[in-house]
């Protein structure tokens, strides 16, 4: 599975990287903001995107709007420090599959991926 991690903080990207279960494979790209992420997603190089919300240049909400309006081919899991219930509702309305609170843990990522059947036995 092709993975994209989008967060303006390199520390946060590292935290996501080390929390990814190895079954997901090694095809992982990184982006620092929404515009970079969209470039990668438009090339069909991200089956699954881990997306931060608060970012410079283009934030996560706007990125989700583009993914929705351009009908882009990626599943999005938002990983954000913005834990207001309203924020979670907004990103789900914009098509995000799920929402994970920062700081991210491997258990939580496995839980979410399993919930959506993205962590199948074949991939182990």
């Amino acid at each position: 599975m092709k993975i994209l991690i989008c967060d303006d903080s390199s520390f946060a990207r590292k935290q996501v990287l080390r929390a990814l279960p190895p079954q997901l494979g090694q095809e992982i790209q990184q982006a620092q903001h929404g515009e970079e992420a969209l470039t990668i997603i438009r090339r069909n190089e991200a089956d699954l995107t881990f997306l931060d919300l608060t970012m410079p240049v283009m934030d996560g909400y706007t990125t989700l709007e583009h993914i929705q309006s351009e009908n882009l081919n990626t599943l999005v899991i938002v990983i954000s420090a913005d834990i207001q219930p309203e924020a979670q509702q907004r990103v789900q309305k914009l098509g995000a599959m799920d929402f994970i609170k920062k700081p991210v843990t491997q258990d939580k990522i496995i839980e979410v991926l399993s919930k959506f059947g993205l962590l199948t036995q074949e991939e182990t």
Binding site: S9, F11, A12, A81, Q84
Partner: protein, 202 residues
């Protein structure tokens, strides 16, 4: 307090920004519940700051408007600093409207100011310290100025020349109000924070 020359490299700036991003998110969630509104989260600004720069920054941020500020010291595990919450009178009026306090008598205003400070500073420091697995104790919050000209806020008793300043400017959606939270960490705190944070990436 030691007066060692501080250097802020990109990795450290990025680290503080992210630690505070997580911490302030929790604080915003609590404030959003108190005020029943949506809070727009900013990207925290991280800078090394000299005493004189802080004085200037505060003065210009407040412009000519009257400002109220609550300050609260914190310390623990060889980390120490000061949290400062700054609100203009107009911001306070916005909070009063949202907080459902009908009459604007000054006791209620003060309570709202202290409640806001307690929530934002408390939650922010808690979120910060939990990530690093440290324990911070907070001193009693103090109202530095209530309808006082900004110059009066800048007569501090603490002695420092340079510190790490993290500026967080919350915006209430559909309101003009900005709530400005400033966290100052003493120079001696930084090495300890850096070391603790390395464990998070192992």
């Amino acid at each position: 307090m030691a007066d060692q020359e501080l250097i802020l490299d990109e990795d450290s700036r990025d680290l503080y920004q992210e630690l505070l991003n997580v911490a302030m998110g929790r604080a915003a969630d609590m404030l959003a519940r108190l005020l029943n509104t949506f809070i727009e989260l900013p990207i925290p600004k991280v800078n090394l700051i000299a005493r004189s720069e802080l004085d200037m920054a505060l003065a210009s941020a407040a412009g000519k408007k009257n400002v109220s500020a609550v300050c609260q010291g914190f310390m623990g595990d060889a980390i120490s600093g000061e949290a400062l919450l700054l609100l203009t009178d107009a911001d306070i009026n916005d909070l009063i409207t949202l907080g459902g306090i009908g009459d604007q008598d000054s006791r209620n205003e003060l309570e709202l100011l202290m409640d806001t400070a307690n929530i934002l500073i408390g939650a922010c420091l808690k979120g910060f310290s939990e990530q690093l697995d440290i324990h911070l104790t907070q001193s009693q919050p103090e109202v530095l100025g209530h309808h006082q000209p900004i110059e009066r806020l800048l007569n501090p008793q603490t002695s420092w020349t340079q510190a790490l300043a993290i500026e967080i400017r919350y915006r209430l959606e559909n309101r003009a109000a900005n709530i400005e939270l400033l966290l100052l960490f003493t120079s001696g705190s930084l090495e300890i924070i850096n070391n603790k944070a390395q464990y998070l990436l192992e």
